[in-house]
């Protein structure tokens, strides 16, 4: 949404979040080191680094995986969602330190190529309890690298949103690989109950949150409505908060109906940037602002304010006895529609 690419699209919140991320990571490493040294003082420093950064990465991965569903269930989490990409890149760096140190400690000192050594030093691929679990970590790290390195908006535009989304959906594959990496590793190393605990509780939380949101969205899509001369009944006007929207499904398309300044406007719910749910965003400076990365659209015509050129479809609304009705037929993207006054 700019005229050239910037290192990072900074705003003042993002800088604060990045500081919180960095401070949080540092604090975790210090605490981890301190507790290990107190309770397990014979641990070598390499092992300490490997475990500290491995468990840090997995904690961060869980946070990343729950932000999406949390933000959809409760809008208070939206600000964290804006910053998820930075969290992802930071998590990759933690995982890289973990993987890099392991490679160095276990595979770099011989005379074979360390990566070759990683794959071949334990050839027990048929075994469960002695499976070369580090190989799984390697593939997970490769996926995290693909995601971190393509996180910039340049790739979103030039790989096409579809390819980009597919690449980034691989995070779930990475998650599965890491679960296997930790649990199969636990047969061979004395993986701490702490890490195992994080994995088990983390998995339950991630899975149940994803199921809850999926269920909730199914419900939105399946709600039956009354029809009146071709207009569909949406809701009572008091059900929409000021500067916020209600998401409503017409003809299998989700529509966001916004209430602002004594007016009502409806636009297609899907952001042109990456398909973010516009109806979960709010009106900022007179523009509908996408909750994911802040793309903006004018409510009356679905167009991004100049010099930007994004456009989404608009819909016509009608108000009767304080009840909102919508015309199910979408207008072309960027069509001006007179807002409904109340």
């Amino acid at each position: 949404m700019g005229l050239n690419y910037q290192l990072v699209l900074w705003n003042k919140h993002k800088k604060t979040y990045d500081k919180i991320i960095a401070a949080g990571m540092l604090l975790y490493i210090i605490l981890f080191a301190a507790t290990t040294l107190i309770f397990n003082s014979e641990t070598s420093i390499e092992t300490l680094v490997i475990r500290a950064f491995g468990s840090l990465a997995i904690i961060m991965l869980h946070i990343i995986l729950v932000i999406g569903p949390l933000a959809r269930l409760n809008t208070n989490f939206l600000p964290i969602l804006y910053n998820r990409r930075h969290l992802g890149v930071s998590m990759f760096i933690a995982a890289l330190i973990h993987g890099g140190f392991s490679m160095f400690q276990f595979h770099a000192l011989g005379d074979v190529n360390p990566i070759y050594s990683l794959f071949t030093s334990n050839m027990d691929y048929g075994s469960l309890t002695n499976f070369p679990f580090q190989v799984l970590g390697f593939f997970a790290l490769l996926i995290l690298f693909i995601m971190a390195s393509t996180s910039h908006d340049f790739f979103l535009g030039n790989l096409s949103a579809k390819v980009w989304k597919r690449l980034h959906m691989m995070v779930y594959l990475a998650y599965v690989l890491i679960i296997a990496h930790v649990f199969l590793g636990a047969f061979q190393q004395e993986t701490s109950p702490f890490t195992i605990g994080i994995m088990v509780i983390g998995f339950i939380v991630v899975a149940s949150l994803h199921l809850t949101t999926a269920f909730k969205e199914r419900k939105i899509d399946n709600t039956k409505t009354e029809e009146k001369n071709g207009w569909l009944k949406v809701c009572h006007i008091s059900e929409i908060e000021e500067d916020r929207a209600k998401i409503f499904t017409v003809e299998n398309e989700r529509v966001a109906i916004f209430k602002y300044n004594g007016k009502l406007s409806a636009i297609h719910n899907v952001c042109k940037h990456q398909g973010g749910p516009l109806g979960e965003g709010k009106i900022i400076d007179g523009c509908i602002t996408c909750p994911w990365h802040g793309y903006q659209y004018l409510p009356s015509n679905g167009q991004s304010p100049p010099p930007f050129t994004e456009k989404v479809a608009t819909y016509e609304l009608m108000l009767e006895d304080k009840t909102v009705y919508i015309n199910p037929k979408a207008f072309d993207e960027g069509t001006e529609v007179k807002p409904c006054n109340y």
Partner: protein, 70 residues
């Protein structure tokens, strides 16, 4: 098993080597052809994009060819 591993790692190595070479060309010459926003993009941003270009070069080569024919 060992052959599979050797073949796999060789392919992976070749993939990244091509990516590296293509990346150097793409970053400073090719990218501007498919993305007008790149024209005014600074060097430090380009370096940030480099690893991603190494990874996704098959897609980007496709884009380059498409932009040449149109």
């Amino acid at each position: 098993m060992e052959t599979i591993i050797t073949v796999f790692l060789t392919i992976l190595g070749i993939y990244f080597t091509i990516g590296l070479l293509f990346g150097l060309y793409f970053l400073f010459i090719g990218a501007t052809k498919i993305d007008p926003l790149m024209k005014d993009t600074k060097k430090n941003v380009r370096v940030l994009l480099f690893p991603g270009i190494i990874v996704t070069w098959p897609f980007l080569i496709g884009r380059l060819f498409k932009s040449k024919t149109t």
